[in-house]
Subunit: 517 residues, 2 copies
């Protein structure tokens, strides 16, 4: 069967008839898909006014929508400009549209018929009743709990995982963007290499060499949309290899665990103690892959110690797949830097990092390094995920990395983070005198525990949220049971909010009776 | 077992000893993870110089890498600034580093030992032999063929699917970015709603209402990283629903088909004729989902006609899932606009669009609308894919859409595209006199066929590439066999390249003998 489409179009001859629109659009308007052929002869103005009125009434043109310039619409419809201006005038008379000077003609009247009621604007699972807090924290494992908590309003947010966002280097970013826009060629705006822009891959290699002890070639770097995407791509690779069980730290990130489960993986919890992940338990579990945060464990803040590192790398040498989430290694205050596992064993470690904690999570840029034998598969997975990251953000980041601007920014926010960490420690001493603090030597958060007799941490988080303060209950990030606690971010907000937030936690805690054993 | 980390840190007291570094980093340097504790007493300068030399030699500090300011490094290492400046001086003397004024101190010497040879920089499958063209086109179905072709060098690129990228509105973009950076709050830089920035979802709703006849609520819009990601997310949803077979147009996009196959779907080819997809064949196939391009079929350019639309929507009403890829509907020249299927049946049509053809593919921004009963699942899939698109690009786009800038840009490039289309049509008439042209009334490309006696189109594409001209062989986009042809993009390049490129195709065609039947 022949698949041929319409017959050959005659080439345009370059000659113009007086009626030919100058923008080359021969028939009809994209705006509302108006088809002037439907207008009755001699009734074009009334027809056009009707079309506009019904678009305003049914919400296709909501209040604030801008109408095309009369000249433009007239060209597209092959009518005189007077037809359009007269139709516009009729709607203006009935109060539905109005001229707004340089803004043009905009819709000003609410539609005659009420629209269908707006959908709930909170994400699925966020709850919408009058007092959602208590019920909210009770069901920690439901899809998107972290997102849903994020969407709830609050006065003071002590959620972990966010750097000082007020310090985002807006001026440097705009300057770099201007240079990027002045320098890129047209081809840079096309479909690019799914691994990412070469300039950013080179910059990431320099960053990792300088700051994380990692040697890599730019062709080994896959730019990804944050560690979350890296984890999704790796999950896909492992499933293809028949690896369906992945070991994770317990306690460990709820979000990462949910993501792996969504991808169809079975989760194997491995306990974390003061030396980090218990590699003996990992070995005994039979899991062939493990996800961990060796430089600064989430949420406990412990560092994987030297002996465990050696054990883990020997497990990797025996064929285990190590996924290193290097999520906030650059933020440290009272301890020496810890090199990445990847720097010790490139052929056994998949490494993921991002700018989420360096600059801002909302940029959604990270990087993935995999062992050489998995590189082609990782590039293919990224290609079919989204064809690669957006190029402008990549090129701006590359400039900030190459110019030293990002390192300067990091030094700047580290000073601020450290001061805020100290404020939180003092506030905890004052308002939560019985609490034990963990993992405050580095990172953007700390963990407090209350001992086995403390109240349920979901009740504490709910009581705090009722008072306008958001924090993560530690049990969210646990798989096996353990003492209750909270995971408290201190990097994002100013000192007075940290002080007040912790004071509210103290009030909430005193309002809850100790648990019956 | 208790999971507790290190013991509680004493809060800093605010008092400073003279030696305390002002940036709060107590021990060691992130730069190269230098640990001054390893330096022998009295030998700190020599130790530091050695560390730097070996980092230059092993490539951790490549030529062009910038060293930290001596003041900064001295602070981090708890040494006097003189230690660092002297170590720097020694490397400068041996010619490995040099001061570069405002750029600071940079590495200037190649490493002493040669690095491991750089990896091949072309993506997997691009081939690397001296004359890759012929072998390249022979194996059309291999992973990433489109990407690999893209990465090959050429003089003139007539690949389809790219708008006029030289027209990218850089000034308007930068202006909008400045306004965005001035207006966003710190919270906007944090983790956001996985559905995308509310401002962009509102702007997309307005765009779709004005230009595609679609009514939607902003809460129904999921911002995605282009149509490719939309397709990946939908594939995941369908698999979850037990739908493993997806019908596609034949001919149809090779990239989309490969993506669905990568996601584990079985492809069911459905022929396309002058009325578009043959809905009778679709119905008979038993497939429960179909991906199609109804407004401008890729690659034939046909429009799904009225009867087929009604048939297809009736098939959807019987439970079929329609995936509408509205990839370049806004580009049309000699025909009326075609409303989206989604505008006729929101409850039965999944709709995907993007700015790839409106502005630039490299932005990687698109939108997905699904029927209401699939919305939660789509948001969850997007959440676990990457937690949402990057925010700055979204907010800039929202401004360009709201201000009318994007519509102005579209009118501007449509004029240019139409002229280029006309140039290509004339060139084909002159240089490819036997060719039939299809689908030139709209879009960014056209299709030519040569009849059953023409040469193999992969041979023609290879011969053209040998002469520096890139084009897609039609057979790449076919599943069942059919007449040979080429898919030729005319939007991206200037007129003289189009003329020369088509002339080269004519030369290449005359150099190939007709096939033996």
């Amino acid at each position: 069967m022949d698949v041929m489409g319409r017959s050959k179009n005659p080439p345009a001859q370059g000659s113009k008839t007086p009626d030919a629109p100058t923008d080359g659009t021969a028939v009809g308007s994209d705006f509302l898909q108006l088809d002037i052929g439907q207008a009755p002869p001699g009734g074009r103005i009334a027809w056009l006014a009707d079309q506009l009125r019904s678009a305003v009434a049914d919400g296709r043109l909501p209040v604030g929508a801008r109408l095309p310039a009369s000249r433009v619409l007239a060209q597209e419809l092959h009518v005189t400009r007077g037809v359009v201006t007269e139709a516009y005038r009729r709607l203006a008379e009935s109060g539905q549209i109005a001229g707004r000077g340089r803004l043009g003609t905009v819709v000003v009247a609410a539609p005659a018929a009420p629209r269908t009621p707006a959908r709930d604007t909170t994400p699925a699972g966020a709850g919408s009743g009058p007092a959602p807090e208590a019920s909210f924290f009770a069901s920690a494992d439901r899809e998107g709990a972290v997102d849903a908590l994020r969407a709830l309003p609050c006065r003071i947010d002590l959620s972990p995982g966010v750097p000082d966002l007020a310090a985002f280097p807006r001026t440097a970013w705009l300057r770099a963007e201007r240079a990027v826009l002045a320098g890129v060629g047209p081809a840079d705006f096309g479909y690019g290499d799914p691994r990412g822009a070469p300039a950013l891959r080179r910059a990431v290699v320099g960053w990792l060499a300088r700051n994380r002890g990692i040697r890599a070639d730019p062709d080994e770097v896959v730019v990804v949309a944050g560690v979350a995407q890296a984890l999704g791509l790796l999950g896909k690779l492992l499933r293809t290899d028949g690896i369906g069980r992945i070991a994770v730290e317990d306690p460990g990130s709820l979000g990462a665990r949910q993501q792996l489960e969504y991808g169809g993986h079975e989760i194997v919890p491995v306990p974390v103690d003061t030396g980090g992940l218990d590699v003996g338990v990992l070995r005994a579990s039979g899991a062939r892959a493990v996800l961990l945060t060796p430089a600064h464990q989430f949420p406990t803040g412990v560092v994987l110690d030297g002996e465990r590192r050696r054990d883990l790398l020997s497990w990797a040498a025996d064929g285990g797949v190590v996924i290193e989430d290097d999520y906030d290694a650059e933020h440290r205050y009272d301890r020496p830097p810890v090199p990445a596992l990847r720097s010790l064993m490139p052929e056994g470690v998949c490494y993921a990092g991002s700018v989420s904690k360096l600059l801002a999570p909302a940029l959604r840029v990270g990087w993935l390094l995999v062992p050489p034998d998995r590189l082609d598969a990782a590039v293919t997975a990224k290609r079919y995920a989204d064809l690669g990251n957006g190029v402008l953000t990549q090129l701006v980041l590359a400039r900030l990395m190459d110019s030293g601007e990002l390192e300067r920014h990091l030094r700047h926010v580290r000073r601020r983070h450290r001061r805020r960490r100290d404020v939180m420690l003092r506030a905890i001493e004052e308002h939560l005198p019985g609490a034990q603090v963990h993992g405050a030597a580095a990172g953007l958060h700390l963990m407090v525990t209350f001992g086995d007799r403390g109240p349920r941490d979901v009740d504490l988080a709910a009581a705090a949220l009722e008072r306008g303060v958001k924090a993560h209950p530690l049990s969210w990030h646990r798989i096996s049971p353990g003492p209750p606690g909270l995971v408290l971010g201190y990097a994002a907000g100013p000192a007075h909010e940290i002080e007040e937030g912790v004071a509210v936690l103290g009030t909430a805690l005193r309002g809850l009776r100790p648990r019956q054993r």
